[in-house]
Structures are given as C-alpha cells and as structure tokens.
C-alpha cells in the first residue's frame, strides 16, 4: 500500500477555497493549474471546502482511482487540520505520513492584500510541498499508555469542581493547593450574583466532598515544584510545606488555638484580607478543608526561637497532632493529565493613587466590603465605617485598574455584577444611598440584566463616567467630613462632586504574580496580558499547547463562577477522554542515529535536554531512546557528520522545501 523506494511518485494536490477565506485573495484555480504541470503531480484540483466530507472523499477516491502515493493539501494551518487530512489519506489506503500540508490561509490569504503576490506565494509554498513530499516515507505512530491519575493544581472553585467531576467518575485525583485550605476566592464571598444565594452554602458542601472523597488526595499548603514527562506520563514533584500539625491526627477541635500562649489574636488574618486577626496557630476559616489547624512559622514562638511553653502541644494532649519536627517534604507522583486552575489575583488599588486607597480608611476594595458584609467576617456582618458609624452614603467606582491603557486593558467581566450585588447588600444592611460610577454596565450573563433592572428599581444611582479623584477636601458644608468623588457625568455632560461616607473600589482581576513561573513549570504559553493561553480561543478553550495540560477558571482569563465551573467540567472531560481511551498516539517525529554512519564523537549527547541520547561504550556509537526523544531536532542540526536524522523533518525534506520556495520565481 505504501510507495517504497524506486516506486514512481504519484502526487495528488488539492487546494481549498475555504469559501472566500482563501479564494477571495488567492486565485485557487490558477494555483491548481500551475501545480498540475509540476513533475510527479498526477491530480491537481481546487475545491470549495477540502475539510468537508466531500472534500476528504475526493482525496480517498483519487488515491484509489489514480493510484496516488503522495498527497498535498493547501488550505489552512496544519495545526488546525493536519489530523483531518492525515485521517483522510489513511482512509484512502495510504500511510498518513505520505502527506504534506500547505498553509495558505493563516500565512497567506488572511495576511496579504495583494492578490497577485498572494497567489504567487501560494504557488511557491505548494511547489515546496510537492517537492518535499517526495521524500516522505511511511511512518507508524507510537502508542503510549496514559496514566489514569490526574493532578489538579489550585483548589478554588474551578479546581474543586474539576477534582470532584473526575473523582466521581472513578479517577484518582491529586489536588494541590498552595494555601492551608481549599476554597479560593469564592470562600470569601458572602452572596453570589445574580441569584443572591449564599456562597458558603453552595461551596462548603463541595469542599467537604473533596476532603472526604476516597478518590481525591488533597494536599493543601503544598506547591508543585517540578513537572517532567509528557502527556499520559507526567512525573510531578510536589513540595509539602510544614504546617507543624499532623493532618492525619488533627481533628480540628481547635483546643490548641485557645491554648496558644498568645491570649489574643493579634496577627492580620489572610482570610479577612487583613481586616481580622488570628493567632500564630489558626484555622483559616470555620469551613476550611482540611479541618486542620496550621502554624504560621513567621509568627509562632516555638518555630521562630524554640523557646515557647508549647501550651498548644499540651492542649492537644494524647492526640499528639502538633509536630514541631515537621520539615518541608518533596513528594513525587505520576499522573497522566494535569489541570491547572490557579486563579487570579486582584488589582492592587494603590496603583491608582488618586482614588485614595490606603490613604483614606473608608476607601475599601470590593473584596474588603465582601468580608465586611458577611456574617463570618471581622464585623460579624455589620457594615460600619472605621470610626464605628453606619455609612449614610456609599459610592462604588467600577473598572478600577480595568479597561485602562495605563493599567490593564481588559474587562474583568465580573466587577459590574459583583458591585451591583454588593450595592444591594449595602442597601439591605444599612439603607445607605448608593451611587455606582461606571463606564458601561456589562450584564450579559443569564439573569444578569434582570439583576441590573432590580438594582435600578432598588434606588441605586448609576453615574456614567470615569472617576477623576477621591479627596477629603470639602468645599461646601455638606462635604465636610466626607470623601468627595470628582467625576465627569458623561450622560448629564457635567463634572460632578459627590460627597459620600464610604467608597468601594471594584478592583479587576490580574494574572497571578507567579503566572510566568507556572507557565514554565507546566510548559504553557501566556497571552500578552499574562493569562494562560488556550490552544484555540474557540475550539479548544481548555486545552493548552502541551498535550495533557488543561486550564480552567480565571487563570485563563477573568470569568464568573458559572463559567469557571463550566470550564472545570470541560477540562475534566478532556482529561477523561484521554484516560478512557487509554493511550496517546505520539507524533513519529523522533530523531534517530544511523549507527553505521556515527563516528561516536559524542557531540550530540550534551545537546539533548531529555537525556534521550546515550553513548553505547561497547559499540562506541550514540544511541537515541525514542521513548525519551520529544522530536525537537536540535541534535539533528548539531550532528557534525550528518548521522542523526529525524522522521518527518529529514534534511532532504527541509532542503527541498527551501529549494522549492526559492525556485518558484
């Protein structure tokens, strides 16, 4: 079925119109006509949609009728449809690698306006491919089994949902969370828009389910430090930070916290974004999972100095859960797939000094307000000003750090709705007048426009305009003792001064500050903004360019809870698809040493980052382990005697491509 050496090369060439996408710029019939006259070309056709069933059928039929043994398709990017056409070639009875694809859409018709030049370019690229494909040989894909376990990185709502979905399907999951408890940002919310259901009520059961699930190994207070291997077979090293409490033995009774030598909680509490206080030994929040205390090594006297009465140990008594001998531990696990759900960080409001955050105590961020209105917060849910008064008037400033060339250009998508929710809660809690300064209200989600209507009906004032500044400089008696917002009201066409008691800054979302490190760790890409890049914005929104690594939730870009959950489910499904099939077909683009040519000069050995090349002392030859080779081809370029070759990227193939693009004038 395959063309062996000496067999006459019979090439079929197909150029796709892609509707008007290609044909609108490139003269497809002219290219087909040109290619038809090239040596070895037996069939040359242009067709409206090559990727359609009839298009693929054309290839299959021609292979049979014209006894073709090489196929070239000029259409879109091989990253999009190479698989499709390889499949068609195979279905037509040829080895799928006797095929070459020419990218004349993304690299030609979509980027050039000069039709004649674009057509010439298409001809040159087609010519190169026709020349190249002559050197293609039949190759077999290698099947590698997929380890059935999955690593989920980040225990926010996306990570929790992905873990549970997988675990409920019987897959073993390792969930690694950096903080002492899972829950992420959602655990800090009071209620959720637009339904105003209580965040804790819907999140806590899922958190407990994670903690109790037999298929989930939860490692909180831990970080992934190293990822090796490839899809189906990742070796991951996880750093488990010492919490000085044995998770197996602690039952979460919190006797130790009460017994701590610090009688009063005096350290800022992370969960309440620094507005509450905790002790050196603490539980992050009442519903924390795991329900295990943690000791802050920066605060605990025993950890810091070794000179403490250890009243906590005493209180723990014969449980002996507190263990000051704990040390950082590196654990290695094997997984087949990785789902990254590492979330976002909030914009630092101090970066816009004219809004007075950090200067005026009654300027707060949206997440701070969230903690101030929730009953589990530092004030028990009572919204008070810093001097203890109840605010009479509250203003929200939207798009803080968002949609602004000076800070972040993107829309954080959730702040409009989040602010309206908080505005309603403020009205509910205090009856204060609420004014919202906005640029545009973005309420596209299900039930969100209705929520906006409700906010209007509830008497919340909306002023359209970017706030210029916040000051405490009163120019009229009614501004005395208040914060004054100066903003342009673009609908009324005037600049207004509005005095209020409290200002809430709706800070946007940003990529985690260590997103770049994570990206490298998991071999992903980031967009220019720093969000993890999906493989395709529409067709592969949770896949990355590294097979077996998926992304979900806000690490990919700002989104609300339902969208995060939807992505988490999608990522879990993608991982399951790989696990349940059980194997991966690896692209056969590995490098190989031609033993009789190798001089044993060892130049290639230090080049390989995967230690796939070893020196066989007995034979005095280099040797490549195909299971370790990832097909970069760096050693092929480096072999000084031309004795290493690479399937799919042979020197002859590349050289003939170069010759091809240049010999078409």
């Amino acid at each position: 079925m395959n063309a062996g050496a000496g067999t006459e090369i019979r090439t079929g060439f197909y150029i796709c119109h892609c509707g008007q996408n290609i044909a609108g710029v490139v003269d497809c019939p002219a290219v087909a006509e040109y290619v038809a006259r090239l040596p070895s070309v037996v069939v040359s056709r242009d067709y409206k949609y090559m990727c359609s069933d009839p298009g693929q059928e054309l290839i299959k039929q021609d292979i049979r009728e014209h006894n073709l043994n090489r196929i070239v398709v000029a259409s879109c990017s091989p990253l999009l449809h190479e698989h499709t056409f390889r499949h068609a070639v195979e279905a037509g009875g040829l080895n799928p690698f006797l095929f070459q694809m020419v990218n004349i859409r993304e690299h030609d018709s979509w980027v050039h306006t000069d039709h004649a030049a674009a057509t010439e370019k298409a001809k040159a690229l087609a010519y190169a491919a026709v020349r190249r494909v002559r050197f293609h040989t039949a190759l077999e894909t290698k099947r590698v089994s997929v380890h059935p376990d999955v690593l989920v990185v980040g225990g926010g709502i996306a990570g929790i949902h992905a873990s549970l979905t997988l675990a409920n399907a019987g897959k073993k999951v390792f969930l690694v969370e950096r903080e002492p408890s899972i829950g992420g940002h959602m655990a800090k919310f009071d209620k959720t828009f637009p339904t105003l259901d209580c965040a804790a009520c819907i999140l806590t059961p899922k958190m407990s389910a994670v903690g109790a699930h037999e298929n989930i190994t939860l490692w909180s207070y831990s970080e992934v430090v190293k990822v090796e291997g490839y899809v189906g077979n990742y070796q991951v090293t996880v750093k488990r930070k010492p919490r000085y409490v044995n998770e197996e033995l602690c039952i979460g009774c919190q006797e130790c916290i009460r017994a701590c030598v610090y009688k009063e909680a005096k350290f800022p509490d992370e969960f309440n974004v620094g507005m509450g206080k905790r002790k050196p030994i603490y539980i992050p929040f009442p519903q924390a999972v795991p329900q295990v205390v943690v000791i802050d090594p920066a605060r605990c006297l025993q950890v810091k100095s070794g000179k403490c009465k250890q009243t906590c140990v005493e209180a723990c008594a014969d449980r002996r859960a507190i263990d000051f001998t704990q040390r950082e531990e590196l654990v290695q696990i094997k997984v087949g797939n990785i789902i990254v759900t590492t979330g976002f960080k909030l914009f630092d409001a101090k970066r816009i000094p004219q809004y007075g955050y950090g200067v005026y105590p009654n300027v707060v961020t949206s997440i701070e307000l969230e903690r101030l209105v929730t009953s589990s917060g530092p004030t028990g849910g009572e919204l008070l000003l810093r001097d203890g008064r109840t605010p009479q008037s509250v203003a929200f400033i939207l798009c803080v750090g968002s949609r602004d060339y000076r800070t972040n250009r993107w829309c954080s998508r959730t702040c409009c709705m989040h602010s309206m929710k908080l505005a309603q809660l403020v009205r509910e809690h205090t009856g204060a007048d609420v004014t919202v300064f906005y640029l545009d209200i973005r309420a596209p989600g299900k039930g969100c426009e209705e929520f906006y209507d409700k906010s209007l009906k509830d008497g919340i004032q909306f002023v359209r305009g970017r706030v210029a500044e916040v000051t405490d400089w009163a120019v009229t008696p009614e501004e005395e003792g208040k914060l004054v917002i100066r903003a342009e009201d673009t609908l009324a066409g005037l600049v207004r001064r509005i005095p209020v008691d409290m200002i809430v800054l709706a800070v946007g979302m940003e990529p985690q500050s260590d997103a770049q490190d994570l990206r490298r760790l998991f071999n992903m890409s980031c967009g220019t903004e720093g969000w993890f890049l999906e493989k395709h914005p529409k067709l592969a929104p949770v896949s990355t360019f590294t097979d077996g690594v998926f992304i979900a939730g806000c690490c990919q870009g700002p989104k609300d809870i339902p969208d995060s959950i939807a992505q988490a489910g999608a990522a879990a499904a993608e991982a399951m698809a790989l696990i349940d099939r059980g194997y991966i077909e690896q692209e056969p683009n590995t490098a190989y040493v031609v033993e009789e040519d190798c001089s044993g000069c060892k130049s290639c050995i230090p080049i390989c980052p995967y230690t796939a090349i070893t020196f066989d002392e007995a034979k005095a030859k280099a040797c490549i382990n195909p299971a370790l080779c990832k097909g970069c081809g760096t050693c092929v370029a480096a072999c000084p005697s031309g004795s290493i070759r690479q399937h799919l990227f042979e020197d002859e193939e590349i050289m003939s491509e170069i010759e091809g693009v240049l010999s078409h004038a």
Binding site: G600, C601, P606, T634, A638, S641, G642, S643
Partner: protein, 329 residues
C-alpha cells in the same frame, strides 16, 4: 596486453600531493608494475602534446590535484577529462578548493597587489606584474591568465572519484589505485575514503566527555595541549567530528587539532556550517554578551571552518567581491 595508462597532474597546489605518490615508498613499485605512467610533468619529462596525441579515453585514469585558478589549469583539466576514463580529484585542493581556495576571500587585484607590491619581502619598484602576453625579442610570449575565482576540479569538469586529504595518505592513494585497477568501484562521484567522521579512528576519543560545554576556545598556540585528552575537551577547535576519517587521525596523533582537510561526510553539504552548528550548540554561556566572549576565541570563523573547503561550500566565495575585474594589464 598493454598496462593501463595513468596521468598525474597538478593545478593550484603546493606539490604535497605529488609527494604523497612518492611517499608510497616501496608501494610505488607495485603500482608501477601495474600501470604505465603516461603523463606526470612534475616528475618526468612529458609534454602536453603527448597527452593530446592520445585517443579520447586513452588514459585509464588521471589523478589531478590542486584547485583550478588559471586558464591553463582549466585547459588541462578539460584535456585530461577528455583523455581519461576515470578522472580523480586528488587531494583537498582538487576536491574542495584547499588552502588556495581561501583566496576566494579576496579579489584578484588585492592578491596581485599584495604579492607583487605590498608584501614586506617584495622589492618591485617598477610594480611589474605578470602579463598574459608580451613581446620579447620580437617573439610573442604568453602566460596563463589568473582567474578571478578559485574553483574545485568538479566546478570545471566532471569528476568520477574523489580522494581527499592534504595530502591524501599513501595508504588511501594505494587503495584508490587498487580499487580502480580491480574495477571494484563504488558509484561514480564517490569519495574514496571512509564515510564516517574522524573521531571513529582518533586515539583520543575515549577521553571525550559526554557533557562537554565550551567555556572558552583556544587556538593551539595558546594552549599547552594534553597529548592524551580529546582536543575539544581542552577547548581547542578540532574539526574531527565534522571531517572524514581515513588519515588515521594523523594531526590529533601529532598533538594538533584536525583542521578538516578530508572534507565532510557524504551526508553533509557544508562542512563549516555543520561544525559551527555542533560546536556552538555546546557553548555553556547563556546570554548574548557571554556567548560573544566565548566566540571571540574563534577570531577567524571562515578560516577555521572552511580552511580547505571554501570554494566547495554553499557560499563559495566572499559574496560581495565583484565577479570580474579588468584583466591583468
């Protein structure tokens, strides 16, 4: 039956290749028993007319050494091509340009001016230069014209076989003649030397580490070279990995690095590019400045990587030199 006739001729070369024949020592006796030497102007008194008088293909083989630089060399190459069944490019210069090939970095004018006027040992106040034609005593005298470009033999005529090396070793020469006489020949166009890199026969190979990373390069005169250890492991650029075997690693065995005279293996089109690729990939430096200072250790990249092969390389000649200059006055 008459013995097969062979010719040995030199073009732009140093004469080392002729030496290589003589270096066969007693071996040459066997050769002389098997063949008749029909033309060897360096050693024996033959005239061009003797060759001309032969019928076409009347020579069994012609061994031509040296690069092709003059009109006369072109003419002789063509003549020998026509008269011989097997034309052999013998030695680095004929195969790939050799040391004379480095003249492709200069124009003819630059060379002539240096050689006849500017060289420190030259005293030529009249600035006399060779002429292609002049009158002497009423007789017209001719000299060959120096071409603008140095060429390999196969850039002028078709070549059947190549025997590389500067010069080829007596062993290779004897084997090549043997192969020709026995008729056990590889495909036309083949190089009659092992198609494997030099490291395969280098006595130092086992001392080369598998984790080589270059921190600096040194030229032979800048280093006290350890006579046992791989030269690359000592930071000395040794072209061995990118150069054919066949010389029994004569230079490394003599405590000098391989400079690449045997040319690349059949799988490599451009020896210099390949060596550069291999060498530079293993530099340990990680940023522009540090990489640059390591590379400073190779002050003459063209001379290092293309010492014997510039005319045969992909670029052939310094690209910005003019094709023609006014002919020598």
């Amino acid at each position: 039956m008459p013995k097969p006739r062979i010719a040995i001729y030199w073009c732009a070369s140093c004469g080392g290749c002729e030496e290589a024949f003589v270096d066969m020592a007693e071996g040459i006796v066997g050769v002389l028993e098997a063949v008749d030497i029909a033309f060897w102007p360096v050693a024996l008194d033959f005239k061009k007319s003797d060759v001309r008088a032969l019928p076409d293909k009347g020579l069994f083989a012609a061994f031509v050494n040296g690069a092709v630089r003059t009109s006369e060399q072109e003419e002789m190459a063509r003549l020998l091509r026509r008269k011989s069944r097997h034309l052999i490019a013998y030695g680095a210069c004929a195969c790939s340009g050799g040391i004379p090939g480095l003249a492709n970095l200069f124009t003819r004018e630059q060379l002539l001016r240096f050689v006849y006027e500017d060289a420190p040992t030259v005293s030529n106040a009249a600035k006399t230069r060779p002429q292609t034609a002049c009158m002497d005593d009423g007789r017209e005298l001719e000299l060959p014209e120096l071409r603008n470009v140095v060429r390999t033999l196969d850039q002028v005529v078709e070549v059947d076989y190549y025997v590389p090396g500067c010069p080829p070793t007596p062993k290779m020469t004897q084997e090549a003649i043997g192969a020709l006489l026995s008729g056990k020949l590889p495909a036309r166009g083949a190089v009659l030397a092992p198609d494997m890199a030099l490291c395969s026969e280098c006595p130092r190979r086992s001392s080369k580490p598998t984790d080589l990373a270059f921190k600096a390069f040194r030229r032979p005169h800048e280093a006290l070279i350890d006579p046992q250890k791989c030269l690359l492991a000592q930071g000395v650029v040794c072209m061995g990995p990118a150069t054919r075997a066949g010389c029994d690693a004569a230079c490394p065995a003599g405590n000098m690095p391989c400079t690449g005279c045997m040319g690349p293996t059949s799988r490599v089109r451009d020896q210099g590019a390949k060596m550069l690729s291999s060498l530079c990939a293993s530099i340990s430096a990680r940023d522009d400045a540090a990489i640059g200072s390591v590379l400073d250790g190779i002050p003459d990249p063209v001379g290092t990587f293309y010492r014997y092969g510039l005319p045969k390389s992909l670029i052939r000649r310094k690209a910005d030199l003019p094709a023609q200059e006014a002919a020598v006055p």
